[in-house]
Amino acid sequence: MQLPFLPFPLPAIPPNVPTEAYLILGGILFALGCMGVMMRKSVITIFMSIELMLNAVNLIFVAFSRQLGQLDGQIFVFFVMAVAAAEVAVGLAIIIDIFRSRRTADIDDVSWLKG
């Protein structure tokens, strides 16, 4: 699919890259994010790890979209991005508030709801 009005040619996606490669990359990114969420102490890092997981999923969506020749996956990716943006806004606000009141960004210090 060549869009005629672009001033430069789209980088050609090497057609020989198989879908499995995308899936493996997505899996690695997702696992990294997952480990980050579980293991890092800083709230900000955890947040970034979550973003990483989301984007890993996005990558897989897009990969499948190309594989199947359908746009559904790509549409879904836009949704995920929009939601992620909103989530970042809310999440950062919460983090800043916690930091203001507690003077800490350590997730282990935030345990007041302990039963």
Binding site: C34, V37, M39, I46, D108, V110, S111, K114, G115
Partner: protein, 710 residues
Amino acid sequence: MPALPLAGAVTNAFAGRRLGKPLSGLLACLAVFGAFCIAVLAVSTYVSGDTSRPHQLHLFPWIAWGAGRSQVLMAEVGFMLDPLASVMVLVVTGIGSLIHLYSLGYMSHDASYSRFFTYLNLFTFSMLVLVLANNFLFMFVGWELVGLCSYLLIGFWFTRPSAASAGKKAFIVNRIGDWGFLIGLFLIWTSFGTFQYFGDHGVAGVLDDPGKVLIAGRGGLDLSWFFGDGVVVPVALAISLLLFVGATGKSAQVPLYVWLPDAMEGPTPVSALIHAATMVTAGVYMVARAHSLYELAPAALTVVATVGAITAIFAASIALVQNDIKRVLAYSTVSQLGYMFLGLGTGAFATGIFHLMTHAFFKALLFLGAGSVIHGLSDEQDLRRMGGLLKYMKVTAITFLVGWVAIIGIPPFAGFFSKDLILAKTFERAQEDPFYYLHYALGLITVGLTAFYMSRLVFLAFFGRYRGEVVSHTPATVAVAAQHDHVQEGTVHTAPAHDVHAVSDTHAGQGVHPGVPHESPATMLIRLIALAALSVVGGVIPLSGIPEFLPFGHTPTGFEQFLAPSLESHAAKGDHAVQHLDATTELILTALSVGTASFGVLIAAAMYLAGRPRPADLAGAFTSPYRWLSNKWYVDELYQATIAHPGARLASFLSAFDLGVIDGAVNGVARLARGTGGLLRRLQSGYVRGYAVSFVAGAFAVLAYWAFRP
């Protein structure tokens, strides 16, 4: 008419404390006295008119279930005046107002003065409701109110444990009787479809209608479900027996009489009111009111008569050895009530009511006299510490003597006529049914016993030498002695009668020293004199002329004629001509009972005046009977063992059950929730990364399930 005492009660209940003593008492008296005046007016109007039909006053329907023709249950708030009710109303309001006036003096120093008059007014109101109601259900309302008031009044000095428990006892024993009454009411409704006494749709009307009688009054009550096959009790019999259970509770007959002697814990005017004028007569009134049912069930009448006779002799025998002046009178009341039921049970309802009336006069007199004695002796109730009071309190003594001769049945006085009439009717009945000879014998023996114990009371209290301690004369020692007396008697109520004495003494200026027995204030004495007068003439009023009075069996007495519309027989109409006694038999019977009475008096005189044989020796000679009598035949102990004790055991078992099982179940559920919560809270560690791990683990678990599911 009942509205006045009710208004008095309400006013006193809410405003009594603010009104102040004299005003609230005065208000109460005015209310009852006003009711009495209205009663006199109403009765005189009624009597001058047509007395064959009751005067009805329908106020408003109370319970109306269903409408129009298909009305299923109908009870109204309505009043009715008929000859029977007239007699009762006059007795209740008349004696009631005298007692109210008497209480003005007697209770003058009690702290809860207006509370007392509230109860007293409420009592009068309830009694009027009971007497004037025009249907059984509304009568039951009055009946229950009376029970409540008796509880309140008997337990008036509720700080005293004995008074509080006496009040409870009265209430509970009455409740047992009410159970019977209530079931009787249910039966009346199911078999007659109405609660009204009179009118086309009333019980009496249904009984008059031959078509309905078959299905209603003379039908059978199938008890097969309970007693096994083929047990069918006539409805009339069942109803009358059940109603009689109620009457035994309220009127203190044999199985349920135990509350009445204990009721003496209340203030003396209350004893007089409960015993003489009102409460205990409710049962008699009720039986007379339901006489049309009783006549359908002769067996029930026999039961009534038998219970009456047994009660009469039983209570009289206990009264022989009691030492508390009020207790003697209490047992005497029980015994006299037995007479009334004996009268009712012979089918001579009018005589029962007649005795009720005369008894109201002389028993109120005796109680108020006793109250005056107790008052004059600084709350001394023990006969053994009285004596020679004739010298100190002349008016009280003389009026008391009048009451004495009235109750033992010496000819020109009230008790003679009514009691003799009952015995005569019993004898009359015995000629048809020999079983009643037994009743007659019991009644006759009771005459002797009555004469004996009343004479014993009178001789011990008013003759001989004063046996109480005479306190020295200086005011200081008097005060000390007063304190001492109160402590010794164990009285808690805060009305030292001595204050009254001091006041009245100063007023009278007789120089009587406090501590020496002395006469009560004039306000109390006037009532005594009035009641004494009633006791004297009370027996003659109802008789239609002196010439007729001796052979009273021949013609119905005026009293009977007056009551005829109320007590007219529905069942026995023309069934058989009642055999009247001839004049000779009548005379012999009269002589017999008077002779028995005199014999009783003579023995008492010999024992307590002449001291031969000495009472103590006699008690020593017959130790075991004496012990039985003075312990009241151990009836209280029997009830304690058979009913109260198992009851308490059951109660404690139930309480344990409640605590262990019911509460246990409830608490168990709570504890379970708390335990689970305690376990689950450990999961809420508060470490966000821990949660994250569990998310991931969960996700893996789900994935693993989908991947490896079979």
